[in-house]
Symmetry: C2
Subunit: 226 residues, 2 copies
């Protein structure tokens, strides 16, 4: 009902294209290979999509939905900001791994040069997510739970960079003996959250108590999940 009746053919093409584009990138994938993986004729691909470009655009559009929903909803939920940060990191990492094809597509297109139209699209997704994360840090600051001197945008970059790097280098991480257990998503999320919340220094300057103490900053951030 919600899907067009004759979507089976187009759908299988879209799925095959998503998988191949995510694995090998735009240029490396031929229309013939997409058709083969979808089990249809090459000409049929051009029957459903005007060109390879347009097919790629369709793949990107279908991959762009729903990404920042969680952060925005988290922003409005009750609970301490510290908990929100923990939950956000854990969710983002788990979400990236669960939808690794879509994630790889978006990350590739956000970073690269390449197609301008598509980069705009990926950037829209990135911007929505970025803004939502910034809002969470801003909220924590307004509540007095986070220090007034922090830059929420920089904190969001820190958070995003940590999750992206984990996604990109997870299998590389597995080979490093310096990182024992760090390749486990939950472990990584917990340790990174602890660092973002408390930093590395043993005793930061005691400052900006102005607004603090009010909202019960229970920094019990060791059970971020479940």
């Amino acid at each position: 009902m919600s899907s067009t009746p004759a979507a089976t053919g187009a759908r299988s093409i879209l799925d095959a294209a998503t998988a191949l584009f995510a694995d090998e990138g735009y240029e490396s994938v031929s229309v013939a290979s997409i058709a083969a993986q979808a089990g249809v004729c090459k000409a049929n691909v051009f029957h459903h999509f005007a060109s390879k470009d347009e097919l790629y655009l369709a793949v990107m559009k279908s991959a762009s939905a729903e990404h920042a929903d969680y952060a925005e909803e988290l922003y409005q939920s009750p609970g301490s900001s510290a908990d929100k940060v923990c939950k956000l990191i854990a969710f983002e990492i788990r979400n990236m791994l669960a939808n690794h094809q879509r994630t790889r597509l978006l990350l590739r297109e956000t970073n690269d040069g390449g197609h301008v139209r598509v980069r705009k699209l990926a950037r829209t997704v990135f911007q929505r997510n970025f803004t939502a994360v910034v809002n969470i840090f801003e909220q924590g600051r307004e509540r007095g739970e986070f220090r007034a001197s922090i830059d929420p945008a920089a904190a969001a970059m820190l958070l995003g960079g940590a999750t992206h790097l984990f996604f990109n280098c997870r299998d590389a991480l597995r080979e490093f003996r310096e990182a024992n257990g760090l390749e486990t998503p939950d472990v990584y999320a917990r340790r990174v959250a602890a660092l973002i919340l408390s930093g590395v220094l043993v005793a930061p300057e005691p400052q900006t108590h102005e607004l603090a103490l009010a909202h019960g900053k229970r920094a019990r951030h060791t059970e971020a999940t479940k």
Copy 2:
């Protein structure tokens, strides 16, 4: 003398290939376009390099040198670990921007699927740099300057993620109004360093004083550069 006498031709090809591969990736660049940019005949490219693959490998190898030197040398230098972290972030960001072609090549190859041999190569560079950064955090922990409960590897991922994300999304960052001034390398480095050192929480639990207090943890990390 240090360069082979007849290296001019091969050198210009290598330079042209580096620029083009960095901008558009392996698949999008044709040998003909490399030859055109180098001002030579296409066949001449194959005279100096056995294949497009081997040319790419040569480009990657020449881009792989020198990357982790700074971190390793910083590790052995005097000064507080907090200062080292600040300097490291500032250097990495400045270094990435100064050698943006090489950086883009390495990042692309570290992340992507693609050529296995080259990924190994890029990963070697990444691993050296990663280990060096981990050592700096480990050193800070042993000195009692950093909390004993932190994971040096996680901190290194945080640091690397922040610098990578900045490099990849700098022009996108320039369009976000949430980030005022954050697209300036020095500003970004300073704010990120402050976050990694002290975190976002207003008052982390007072813990692990055991080894601290000894090495003068002057957390005056607002002038990381110059």
